[in-house]
Subunit: 279 residues, 2 copies
Protein backbone atom coordinates (compact mmCIF):
# COMPACT_ATOMS: atom_id res chain seq x y z
CA UNK A 1 0.00 0.00 0.00
CA UNK A 2 1.39 3.36 -0.93
CA UNK A 3 0.73 6.45 1.08
CA UNK A 4 -1.23 8.72 -1.20
CA UNK A 5 -0.10 11.73 0.75
CA UNK A 6 -3.58 13.24 0.90
CA UNK A 7 -4.56 14.33 4.38
CA UNK A 8 -8.10 13.13 3.81
CA UNK A 9 -7.03 9.47 3.53
CA UNK A 10 -5.15 9.63 6.82
CA UNK A 11 -6.91 8.93 10.08
CA UNK A 12 -6.03 11.15 13.02
CA UNK A 13 -6.27 9.51 16.42
CA UNK A 14 -8.24 11.53 18.97
CA UNK A 15 -8.09 10.84 22.69
CA UNK A 16 -10.50 12.11 25.31
CA UNK A 17 -9.13 12.01 28.83
CA UNK A 18 -10.87 12.96 32.06
CA UNK A 19 -10.87 12.57 35.80
CA UNK A 20 -14.56 11.64 35.66
CA UNK A 21 -16.75 10.13 32.99
CA UNK A 22 -15.23 12.16 30.17
CA UNK A 23 -18.56 13.50 28.96
CA UNK A 24 -17.42 17.11 28.96
CA UNK A 25 -14.21 16.39 27.09
CA UNK A 26 -16.09 14.27 24.58
CA UNK A 27 -18.90 16.74 24.02
CA UNK A 28 -16.77 19.82 23.55
CA UNK A 29 -14.02 17.95 21.71
CA UNK A 30 -16.53 16.58 19.21
CA UNK A 31 -17.96 20.07 18.75
CA UNK A 32 -14.51 21.21 17.65
CA UNK A 33 -13.78 18.18 15.48
CA UNK A 34 -17.01 18.80 13.64
CA UNK A 35 -15.35 21.91 12.26
CA UNK A 36 -13.08 19.61 10.23
CA UNK A 37 -15.46 17.56 8.10
CA UNK A 38 -12.72 16.53 5.65
CA UNK A 39 -10.61 14.82 8.31
CA UNK A 40 -11.17 11.23 9.44
CA UNK A 41 -10.83 10.79 13.19
CA UNK A 42 -10.51 7.67 15.28
CA UNK A 43 -11.74 8.33 18.79
CA UNK A 44 -10.85 6.71 22.07
CA UNK A 45 -11.87 7.70 25.59
CA UNK A 46 -9.97 7.37 28.87
CA UNK A 47 -12.32 8.16 31.75
CA UNK A 48 -11.50 8.13 35.48
CA UNK A 49 -7.83 9.10 35.18
CA UNK A 50 -7.29 10.27 38.73
CA UNK A 51 -3.73 9.27 39.64
CA UNK A 52 -0.34 10.24 38.28
CA UNK A 53 0.43 6.55 37.73
CA UNK A 54 -2.64 6.07 35.56
CA UNK A 55 -1.85 9.32 33.75
CA UNK A 56 1.59 7.96 32.91
CA UNK A 57 0.10 4.79 31.43
CA UNK A 58 -2.38 6.77 29.40
CA UNK A 59 0.32 9.12 28.18
CA UNK A 60 2.18 6.03 26.96
CA UNK A 61 -0.83 5.16 24.79
CA UNK A 62 -1.01 8.72 23.45
CA UNK A 63 2.68 8.83 22.58
CA UNK A 64 2.62 5.42 20.91
CA UNK A 65 0.09 6.83 18.45
CA UNK A 66 2.42 9.67 17.38
CA UNK A 67 4.16 9.14 14.07
CA UNK A 68 6.28 11.34 11.83
CA UNK A 69 3.26 12.24 9.75
CA UNK A 70 0.40 12.19 12.28
CA UNK A 71 0.05 14.16 15.50
CA UNK A 72 -2.91 12.84 17.49
CA UNK A 73 -5.17 15.22 19.40
CA UNK A 74 -5.78 14.91 23.13
CA UNK A 75 -8.80 16.64 24.65
CA UNK A 76 -8.46 16.82 28.41
CA UNK A 77 -10.96 17.89 31.03
CA UNK A 78 -8.73 16.77 33.88
CA UNK A 79 -8.81 19.27 36.73
CA UNK A 80 -6.22 17.77 39.07
CA UNK A 81 -2.98 19.71 38.67
CA UNK A 82 -0.55 16.81 39.12
CA UNK A 83 -2.43 14.51 36.77
CA UNK A 84 -2.61 17.27 34.22
CA UNK A 85 1.07 18.02 34.45
CA UNK A 86 1.84 14.39 33.69
CA UNK A 87 -0.53 14.30 30.71
CA UNK A 88 0.74 17.59 29.30
CA UNK A 89 4.12 16.03 28.64
CA UNK A 90 2.63 14.03 25.78
CA UNK A 91 4.03 14.47 22.30
CA UNK A 92 0.45 14.72 20.99
CA UNK A 93 -1.35 18.05 20.63
CA UNK A 94 -2.75 18.64 24.11
CA UNK A 95 -5.99 20.58 24.24
CA UNK A 96 -6.56 21.51 27.83
CA UNK A 97 -10.24 22.34 28.14
CA UNK A 98 -9.85 23.28 31.74
CA UNK A 99 -6.53 24.93 32.36
CA UNK A 100 -6.37 28.65 31.85
CA UNK A 101 -10.11 29.20 32.22
CA UNK A 102 -9.94 28.19 35.84
CA UNK A 103 -7.31 30.86 36.51
CA UNK A 104 -9.58 33.50 35.00
CA UNK A 105 -12.55 32.34 37.08
CA UNK A 106 -10.42 32.34 40.22
CA UNK A 107 -9.41 35.96 39.57
CA UNK A 108 -12.98 37.07 38.84
CA UNK A 109 -14.43 35.39 41.90
CA UNK A 110 -11.45 36.06 44.16
CA UNK A 111 -11.83 32.49 45.34
CA UNK A 112 -9.42 29.61 44.85
CA UNK A 113 -10.61 26.57 42.93
CA UNK A 114 -10.56 23.29 44.83
CA UNK A 115 -8.68 21.65 41.92
CA UNK A 116 -10.38 18.36 42.44
CA UNK A 117 -13.47 17.61 44.45
CA UNK A 118 -16.61 15.82 43.36
CA UNK A 119 -16.82 15.05 39.66
CA UNK A 120 -19.70 16.70 37.82
CA UNK A 121 -21.23 13.44 36.77
CA UNK A 122 -20.82 11.79 40.12
CA UNK A 123 -23.75 11.58 42.47
CA UNK A 124 -22.89 15.04 43.75
CA UNK A 125 -25.93 16.69 45.19
CA UNK A 126 -28.05 13.63 45.99
CA UNK A 127 -31.31 15.55 46.04
CA UNK A 128 -30.65 16.87 42.55
CA UNK A 129 -29.68 13.40 41.37
CA UNK A 130 -32.75 11.78 42.91
CA UNK A 131 -34.90 14.36 41.13
CA UNK A 132 -33.46 13.24 37.80
CA UNK A 133 -34.03 9.58 38.61
CA UNK A 134 -37.62 10.31 39.66
CA UNK A 135 -38.13 12.23 36.44
CA UNK A 136 -37.00 9.22 34.39
CA UNK A 137 -39.37 7.00 36.32
CA UNK A 138 -42.18 9.46 35.72
CA UNK A 139 -41.41 9.63 32.01
CA UNK A 140 -41.40 5.82 31.74
CA UNK A 141 -44.73 5.52 33.54
CA UNK A 142 -46.34 8.24 31.46
CA UNK A 143 -44.94 7.23 28.10
CA UNK A 144 -47.36 7.05 25.21
CA UNK A 145 -50.35 7.67 27.44
CA UNK A 146 -49.50 4.51 29.41
CA UNK A 147 -50.73 6.13 32.59
CA UNK A 148 -52.96 9.15 32.58
CA UNK A 149 -52.81 9.45 36.34
CA UNK A 150 -51.07 12.42 37.91
CA UNK A 151 -50.77 14.21 34.58
CA UNK A 152 -51.32 17.40 36.54
CA UNK A 153 -47.96 16.91 38.24
CA UNK A 154 -46.13 16.91 34.90
CA UNK A 155 -43.82 19.82 34.14
CA UNK A 156 -44.57 19.25 30.49
CA UNK A 157 -46.93 17.13 28.37
CA UNK A 158 -45.74 16.32 24.86
CA UNK A 159 -48.67 15.83 22.50
CA UNK A 160 -48.32 14.30 19.03
CA UNK A 161 -49.43 11.60 16.62
CA UNK A 162 -47.63 8.28 16.95
CA UNK A 163 -43.91 8.25 16.00
CA UNK A 164 -43.25 12.00 15.97
CA UNK A 165 -40.49 11.72 18.59
CA UNK A 166 -42.39 12.05 21.88
CA UNK A 167 -40.60 9.21 23.66
CA UNK A 168 -36.94 10.06 23.03
CA UNK A 169 -37.61 13.74 23.71
CA UNK A 170 -39.36 12.92 26.99
CA UNK A 171 -36.51 10.66 28.06
CA UNK A 172 -33.91 13.24 27.18
CA UNK A 173 -35.67 16.02 29.10
CA UNK A 174 -36.04 13.75 32.12
CA UNK A 175 -32.52 12.37 32.08
CA UNK A 176 -30.67 15.55 31.24
CA UNK A 177 -32.81 18.20 32.91
CA UNK A 178 -34.83 16.37 35.57
CA UNK A 179 -38.13 17.47 34.07
CA UNK A 180 -41.23 15.37 34.67
CA UNK A 181 -42.47 14.85 31.14
CA UNK A 182 -45.61 12.95 30.23
CA UNK A 183 -46.59 12.31 26.69
CA UNK A 184 -49.97 11.91 25.09
CA UNK A 185 -50.48 10.19 21.73
CA UNK A 186 -53.07 11.78 19.46
CA UNK A 187 -55.21 9.15 17.76
CA UNK A 188 -57.99 9.47 15.20
CA UNK A 189 -60.75 9.63 17.80
CA UNK A 190 -59.07 12.71 19.27
CA UNK A 191 -59.58 14.55 16.00
CA UNK A 192 -63.29 13.76 15.73
CA UNK A 193 -64.47 15.85 18.65
CA UNK A 194 -62.64 19.02 17.68
CA UNK A 195 -62.02 19.68 21.35
CA UNK A 196 -59.00 18.81 23.44
CA UNK A 197 -58.70 15.14 24.38
CA UNK A 198 -60.21 14.67 27.83
CA UNK A 199 -57.00 13.67 29.70
CA UNK A 200 -55.22 16.89 28.80
CA UNK A 201 -58.17 19.25 29.18
CA UNK A 202 -57.36 21.92 31.73
CA UNK A 203 -53.66 21.20 31.31
CA UNK A 204 -53.20 23.04 28.04
CA UNK A 205 -50.74 25.48 29.62
CA UNK A 206 -48.17 22.73 29.93
CA UNK A 207 -48.79 21.03 26.60
CA UNK A 208 -46.31 21.18 23.74
CA UNK A 209 -47.03 19.70 20.31
CA UNK A 210 -44.73 17.80 18.01
CA UNK A 211 -45.18 17.58 14.28
CA UNK A 212 -43.25 15.93 11.47
CA UNK A 213 -43.39 15.88 7.69
CA UNK A 214 -45.62 13.27 6.02
CA UNK A 215 -42.59 11.78 4.23
CA UNK A 216 -40.49 11.43 7.36
CA UNK A 217 -43.40 10.12 9.46
CA UNK A 218 -44.35 7.61 6.79
CA UNK A 219 -40.75 6.40 6.64
CA UNK A 220 -40.47 5.98 10.42
CA UNK A 221 -43.85 4.24 10.68
CA UNK A 222 -43.01 2.05 7.69
CA UNK A 223 -40.03 0.64 9.57
CA UNK A 224 -42.40 -0.57 12.25
CA UNK A 225 -45.34 -1.68 10.08
CA UNK A 226 -44.30 -1.83 6.42
CA UNK A 227 -47.07 -1.35 3.88
CA UNK A 228 -49.73 -0.59 6.51
CA UNK A 229 -52.39 2.09 6.30
CA UNK A 230 -50.80 3.45 9.50
CA UNK A 231 -47.59 4.12 7.55
CA UNK A 232 -49.21 5.40 4.36
CA UNK A 233 -48.50 8.93 3.16
CA UNK A 234 -52.23 9.65 3.12
CA UNK A 235 -52.75 8.66 6.74
CA UNK A 236 -49.60 10.43 7.97
CA UNK A 237 -50.49 13.57 6.08
CA UNK A 238 -54.04 13.51 7.49
CA UNK A 239 -52.95 13.04 11.10
CA UNK A 240 -50.33 15.77 10.89
CA UNK A 241 -52.81 18.20 9.38
CA UNK A 242 -55.38 17.49 12.09
CA UNK A 243 -52.77 17.66 14.84
CA UNK A 244 -51.56 21.02 13.58
CA UNK A 245 -55.14 22.34 13.50
CA UNK A 246 -55.68 21.12 17.04
CA UNK A 247 -52.51 22.84 18.28
CA UNK A 248 -53.54 26.05 16.56
CA UNK A 249 -57.09 25.96 17.90
CA UNK A 250 -55.88 25.55 21.47
CA UNK A 251 -52.76 27.72 21.20
CA UNK A 252 -50.45 24.82 21.95
CA UNK A 253 -46.93 25.72 20.83
CA UNK A 254 -45.36 23.15 18.52
CA UNK A 255 -42.26 22.27 16.57
CA UNK A 256 -41.52 20.07 13.61
CA UNK A 257 -39.37 17.17 14.73
CA UNK A 258 -38.48 16.01 11.22
CA UNK A 259 -35.34 18.09 10.96
CA UNK A 260 -34.36 18.41 14.61
CA UNK A 261 -32.44 16.26 17.03
CA UNK A 262 -33.79 15.48 20.50
CA UNK A 263 -31.21 17.83 21.96
CA UNK A 264 -32.41 20.66 19.76
CA UNK A 265 -36.05 19.92 20.46
CA UNK A 266 -35.36 19.83 24.18
CA UNK A 267 -33.59 23.19 24.06
CA UNK A 268 -36.34 24.83 21.99
CA UNK A 269 -39.14 23.38 24.13
CA UNK A 270 -37.51 24.51 27.37
CA UNK A 271 -36.88 27.97 26.00
CA UNK A 272 -40.41 28.31 24.64
CA UNK A 273 -42.13 26.88 27.72
CA UNK A 274 -39.92 28.80 30.09
CA UNK A 275 -38.73 25.64 31.78
CA UNK A 276 -35.32 25.91 33.34
CA UNK A 277 -34.96 22.34 34.59
CA UNK A 278 -31.77 21.40 36.32
CA UNK A 279 -28.86 23.23 34.74
Amino acid sequence: MTNEGATSTRTTPVFFVAGGTGISAETLGNLMLQQFPSVAFERRKFPFVTTVERAREVRGVFDAACTDSVTPLVFSSVSDDEVRQELQQTRCAFIDLFGSHLDLIERVLSVNATHGGAPLHGLGDTRRYDARMKAIEYAMEHDDGASLRHLESADLILVAPSRCGKTPTSMYLALQHGLKVANYPLVEEDFDTGGLPRPIRGLVDRCFGLLSTPARLSQVRGERRPGSKYASMGQCSYELRRAEALYRAHRIPSINSASMSVEEMAAVIMQSSNLSGLL
Copy 2:
Protein backbone atom coordinates in the same frame (compact mmCIF):
# COMPACT_ATOMS: atom_id res chain seq x y z
CA MET B 1 -30.76 44.68 54.42
CA THR B 2 -27.07 45.28 54.90
CA ASN B 3 -24.48 43.76 52.66
CA GLU B 4 -22.57 41.39 54.90
CA GLY B 5 -19.58 41.71 52.64
CA ALA B 6 -19.01 37.96 52.57
CA THR B 7 -18.53 36.56 49.08
CA SER B 8 -20.52 33.49 50.01
CA THR B 9 -23.77 35.43 50.46
CA ARG B 10 -23.45 37.00 47.02
CA THR B 11 -24.86 35.23 43.99
CA THR B 12 -22.78 35.32 40.83
CA PRO B 13 -24.77 35.23 37.60
CA VAL B 14 -23.52 32.65 35.11
CA PHE B 15 -24.51 32.67 31.45
CA PHE B 16 -24.10 29.83 28.98
CA VAL B 17 -24.22 30.92 25.37
CA ALA B 18 -24.03 28.76 22.26
CA GLY B 19 -24.80 28.58 18.57
CA GLY B 20 -26.52 25.24 19.13
CA THR B 21 -28.24 23.68 22.12
CA GLY B 22 -25.64 24.88 24.61
CA ILE B 23 -25.01 21.42 26.03
CA SER B 24 -21.25 21.66 25.65
CA ALA B 25 -21.01 25.09 27.24
CA GLU B 26 -23.25 23.97 30.07
CA THR B 27 -21.47 20.70 30.73
CA LEU B 28 -17.94 22.05 30.74
CA GLY B 29 -18.93 25.29 32.45
CA ASN B 30 -20.57 23.40 35.28
CA LEU B 31 -17.51 21.20 35.61
CA MET B 32 -15.49 24.35 36.26
CA LEU B 33 -18.04 25.94 38.58
CA GLN B 34 -18.01 22.82 40.69
CA GLN B 35 -14.48 23.78 41.67
CA PHE B 36 -15.98 26.68 43.63
CA PRO B 37 -18.33 25.03 46.14
CA SER B 38 -18.43 28.12 48.39
CA VAL B 39 -19.86 30.36 45.69
CA ALA B 40 -23.57 30.60 44.87
CA PHE B 41 -24.28 30.76 41.15
CA GLU B 42 -27.42 31.67 39.27
CA ARG B 43 -27.41 30.05 35.85
CA ARG B 44 -29.10 31.05 32.63
CA LYS B 45 -28.72 29.56 29.18
CA PHE B 46 -28.91 31.23 25.76
CA PRO B 47 -28.99 28.54 23.06
CA PHE B 48 -29.18 29.06 19.29
CA VAL B 49 -27.37 32.41 19.17
CA THR B 50 -26.46 32.37 15.49
CA THR B 51 -26.69 36.00 14.33
CA VAL B 52 -24.82 39.14 15.29
CA GLU B 53 -28.16 40.84 16.04
CA ARG B 54 -29.13 38.14 18.52
CA ALA B 55 -25.62 38.24 19.99
CA ARG B 56 -26.04 41.96 20.60
CA GLU B 57 -29.32 41.40 22.46
CA VAL B 58 -27.79 38.66 24.56
CA ARG B 59 -24.75 40.81 25.34
CA GLY B 60 -27.20 43.44 26.59
CA VAL B 61 -28.53 40.91 29.11
CA PHE B 62 -25.00 39.97 30.19
CA ASP B 63 -23.95 43.58 30.68
CA ALA B 64 -27.10 44.47 32.60
CA ALA B 65 -26.09 41.88 35.20
CA CYS B 66 -22.70 43.51 35.81
CA THR B 67 -22.47 45.58 38.96
CA ASP B 68 -19.65 47.29 40.82
CA SER B 69 -19.25 44.29 43.07
CA VAL B 70 -20.22 41.34 40.86
CA THR B 71 -18.71 40.29 37.56
CA PRO B 72 -20.86 37.59 35.97
CA LEU B 73 -19.27 34.70 34.10
CA VAL B 74 -20.08 33.89 30.48
CA PHE B 75 -19.25 30.43 29.13
CA SER B 76 -19.37 30.45 25.35
CA SER B 77 -19.18 27.55 22.91
CA VAL B 78 -20.04 29.79 19.95
CA SER B 79 -17.91 28.89 16.94
CA ASP B 80 -18.99 31.60 14.48
CA ASP B 81 -16.32 34.28 14.42
CA GLU B 82 -18.60 37.31 13.96
CA VAL B 83 -21.03 36.21 16.65
CA ARG B 84 -18.15 35.55 19.00
CA GLN B 85 -16.58 38.93 18.35
CA GLU B 86 -19.85 40.59 19.31
CA LEU B 87 -20.19 38.55 22.50
CA GLN B 88 -16.58 39.08 23.54
CA GLN B 89 -17.24 42.77 23.98
CA THR B 90 -19.25 42.03 27.10
CA ARG B 91 -18.15 43.56 30.39
CA CYS B 92 -18.59 40.13 32.02
CA ALA B 93 -15.76 37.62 32.29
CA PHE B 94 -15.87 35.86 28.93
CA ILE B 95 -14.76 32.23 28.97
CA ASP B 96 -14.33 31.20 25.37
CA LEU B 97 -14.42 27.41 25.38
CA PHE B 98 -13.78 27.29 21.68
CA GLY B 99 -11.48 30.03 20.60
CA SER B 100 -7.80 29.33 20.84
CA HIS B 101 -8.18 25.55 20.80
CA LEU B 102 -9.47 25.69 17.26
CA ASP B 103 -6.33 27.53 16.15
CA LEU B 104 -4.17 24.81 17.66
CA ILE B 105 -6.17 22.06 15.97
CA GLU B 106 -5.97 23.88 12.65
CA ARG B 107 -2.18 24.04 12.94
CA VAL B 108 -1.86 20.38 13.92
CA LEU B 109 -4.13 19.15 11.14
CA SER B 110 -3.00 21.70 8.56
CA VAL B 111 -6.67 22.10 7.70
CA ASN B 112 -8.85 25.15 8.17
CA ALA B 113 -11.87 24.89 10.43
CA THR B 114 -15.22 25.58 8.78
CA HIS B 115 -16.08 28.03 11.61
CA GLY B 116 -19.73 27.15 11.50
CA GLY B 117 -21.37 24.17 9.88
CA ALA B 118 -23.74 21.67 11.39
CA PRO B 119 -24.18 21.92 15.14
CA LEU B 120 -23.07 18.86 17.11
CA HIS B 121 -26.51 18.25 18.52
CA GLY B 122 -28.33 18.79 15.27
CA LEU B 123 -29.45 15.80 13.27
CA GLY B 124 -26.03 15.71 11.65
CA ASP B 125 -25.28 12.24 10.43
CA THR B 126 -28.82 10.85 10.08
CA ARG B 127 -27.73 7.22 10.20
CA ARG B 128 -25.95 7.83 13.48
CA TYR B 129 -28.97 9.69 14.82
CA ASP B 130 -31.39 6.99 13.75
CA ALA B 131 -29.21 4.42 15.50
CA ARG B 132 -29.62 6.34 18.75
CA MET B 133 -33.38 6.60 18.29
CA LYS B 134 -33.61 2.87 17.57
CA ALA B 135 -31.54 2.17 20.65
CA ILE B 136 -33.99 4.14 22.81
CA GLU B 137 -36.88 2.25 21.32
CA TYR B 138 -35.10 -1.02 21.99
CA ALA B 139 -34.37 -0.03 25.59
CA MET B 140 -38.01 0.95 26.17
CA GLU B 141 -39.28 -2.35 24.76
CA HIS B 142 -36.82 -4.39 26.76
CA ASP B 143 -37.11 -2.53 30.03
CA ASP B 144 -37.55 -4.60 33.15
CA GLY B 145 -37.89 -7.82 31.21
CA ALA B 146 -40.96 -6.39 29.42
CA SER B 147 -39.99 -8.22 26.27
CA LEU B 148 -37.58 -11.12 26.25
CA ARG B 149 -37.64 -11.35 22.48
CA HIS B 150 -34.53 -10.50 20.50
CA LEU B 151 -32.39 -10.39 23.63
CA GLU B 152 -29.64 -11.84 21.46
CA SER B 153 -29.50 -8.61 19.48
CA ALA B 154 -28.72 -6.58 22.61
CA ASP B 155 -25.29 -4.97 22.89
CA LEU B 156 -25.63 -5.29 26.63
CA ILE B 157 -28.02 -6.87 29.13
CA LEU B 158 -28.16 -5.27 32.57
CA VAL B 159 -29.07 -7.78 35.25
CA ALA B 160 -30.10 -6.80 38.78
CA PRO B 161 -32.71 -7.03 41.51
CA SER B 162 -35.54 -4.52 41.27
CA ARG B 163 -34.60 -0.85 41.82
CA CYS B 164 -30.83 -1.09 41.49
CA GLY B 165 -30.73 1.43 38.63
CA LYS B 166 -31.20 -0.75 35.53
CA THR B 167 -33.72 1.52 33.82
CA PRO B 168 -31.98 4.91 33.99
CA THR B 169 -28.66 3.32 33.10
CA SER B 170 -30.19 1.56 30.08
CA MET B 171 -31.81 4.78 28.92
CA TYR B 172 -28.63 6.74 29.31
CA LEU B 173 -26.55 4.22 27.36
CA ALA B 174 -29.14 4.16 24.59
CA LEU B 175 -29.66 7.90 24.39
CA GLN B 176 -26.07 8.99 24.77
CA HIS B 177 -24.18 6.17 23.12
CA GLY B 178 -26.68 4.45 20.83
CA LEU B 179 -26.23 1.10 22.58
CA LYS B 180 -29.04 -1.44 22.47
CA VAL B 181 -29.47 -2.25 26.13
CA ALA B 182 -31.95 -4.75 27.50
CA ASN B 183 -32.43 -5.26 31.17
CA TYR B 184 -33.42 -8.30 33.14
CA PRO B 185 -34.86 -8.10 36.66
CA LEU B 186 -33.69 -10.81 39.05
CA VAL B 187 -36.55 -12.11 41.18
CA GLU B 188 -36.63 -14.66 43.96
CA GLU B 189 -37.37 -17.60 41.66
CA ASP B 190 -34.17 -16.83 39.78
CA PHE B 191 -32.16 -17.50 42.92
CA ASP B 192 -33.75 -20.88 43.64
CA THR B 193 -32.30 -22.76 40.71
CA GLY B 194 -28.72 -21.67 41.22
CA GLY B 195 -28.32 -21.53 37.44
CA LEU B 196 -28.68 -18.57 35.13
CA PRO B 197 -32.27 -17.45 34.46
CA ARG B 198 -33.42 -19.10 31.24
CA PRO B 199 -33.84 -15.89 29.14
CA ILE B 200 -30.21 -14.87 29.56
CA ARG B 201 -28.66 -18.32 29.29
CA GLY B 202 -26.16 -18.39 26.47
CA LEU B 203 -25.94 -14.60 26.57
CA VAL B 204 -23.72 -14.35 29.62
CA ASP B 205 -20.96 -12.68 27.59
CA ARG B 206 -23.04 -9.55 27.25
CA CYS B 207 -24.49 -9.48 30.77
CA PHE B 208 -23.48 -6.90 33.33
CA GLY B 209 -24.71 -6.97 36.92
CA LEU B 210 -25.78 -4.09 39.12
CA LEU B 211 -25.69 -4.16 42.90
CA SER B 212 -26.56 -1.69 45.62
CA THR B 213 -26.24 -1.50 49.37
CA PRO B 214 -29.10 -2.89 51.49
CA ALA B 215 -29.65 0.55 53.06
CA ARG B 216 -29.84 2.42 49.76
CA LEU B 217 -32.00 -0.26 48.11
CA SER B 218 -34.36 -0.36 51.06
CA GLN B 219 -34.68 3.43 50.94
CA VAL B 220 -35.41 3.49 47.20
CA ARG B 221 -37.90 0.62 47.43
CA GLY B 222 -39.52 2.19 50.48
CA GLU B 223 -40.39 5.27 48.45
CA ARG B 224 -42.40 3.08 46.13
CA ARG B 225 -43.90 0.66 48.69
CA PRO B 226 -43.43 2.02 52.21
CA GLY B 227 -43.34 -0.60 54.97
CA SER B 228 -43.50 -3.56 52.58
CA LYS B 229 -41.50 -6.77 52.84
CA TYR B 230 -40.15 -5.81 49.40
CA ALA B 231 -38.56 -2.71 50.92
CA SER B 232 -37.37 -4.33 54.14
CA MET B 233 -33.66 -4.40 54.97
CA GLY B 234 -33.82 -8.17 55.33
CA GLN B 235 -35.28 -8.74 51.88
CA CYS B 236 -32.97 -6.22 50.20
CA SER B 237 -29.94 -7.68 51.90
CA TYR B 238 -30.98 -11.21 50.87
CA GLU B 239 -31.56 -10.34 47.23
CA LEU B 240 -28.30 -8.45 46.94
CA ARG B 241 -26.36 -11.33 48.49
CA ARG B 242 -27.91 -13.83 46.12
CA ALA B 243 -27.44 -11.59 43.12
CA GLU B 244 -23.79 -11.12 43.95
CA ALA B 245 -23.32 -14.88 44.29
CA LEU B 246 -24.99 -15.41 40.94
CA TYR B 247 -22.73 -12.84 39.23
CA ARG B 248 -19.69 -14.47 40.78
CA ALA B 249 -20.73 -18.00 39.82
CA HIS B 250 -21.22 -17.01 36.19
CA ARG B 251 -18.36 -14.50 35.96
CA ILE B 252 -20.72 -11.63 35.22
CA PRO B 253 -18.93 -8.34 35.91
CA SER B 254 -20.81 -6.03 38.24
CA ILE B 255 -20.74 -2.67 39.94
CA ASN B 256 -22.38 -1.18 42.98
CA SER B 257 -24.80 1.51 41.90
CA ALA B 258 -25.36 2.94 45.38
CA SER B 259 -22.60 5.52 45.15
CA MET B 260 -22.45 6.08 41.41
CA SER B 261 -24.35 8.26 38.98
CA VAL B 262 -25.79 6.85 35.75
CA GLU B 263 -23.06 8.67 33.85
CA GLU B 264 -20.36 7.01 35.93
CA MET B 265 -21.99 3.60 35.66
CA ALA B 266 -22.29 4.00 31.91
CA ALA B 267 -18.62 4.93 31.58
CA VAL B 268 -17.47 2.03 33.77
CA ILE B 269 -19.72 -0.52 32.04
CA MET B 270 -18.59 0.56 28.58
CA GLN B 271 -14.96 0.43 29.61
CA SER B 272 -15.30 -2.95 31.29
CA SER B 273 -17.40 -4.53 28.51
CA ASN B 274 -15.26 -3.03 25.78
CA LEU B 275 -18.22 -1.26 24.24
CA SER B 276 -17.32 1.86 22.34
CA GLY B 277 -20.82 2.96 21.36
CA LEU B 278 -21.18 6.15 19.39
CA LEU B 279 -18.61 8.66 20.54
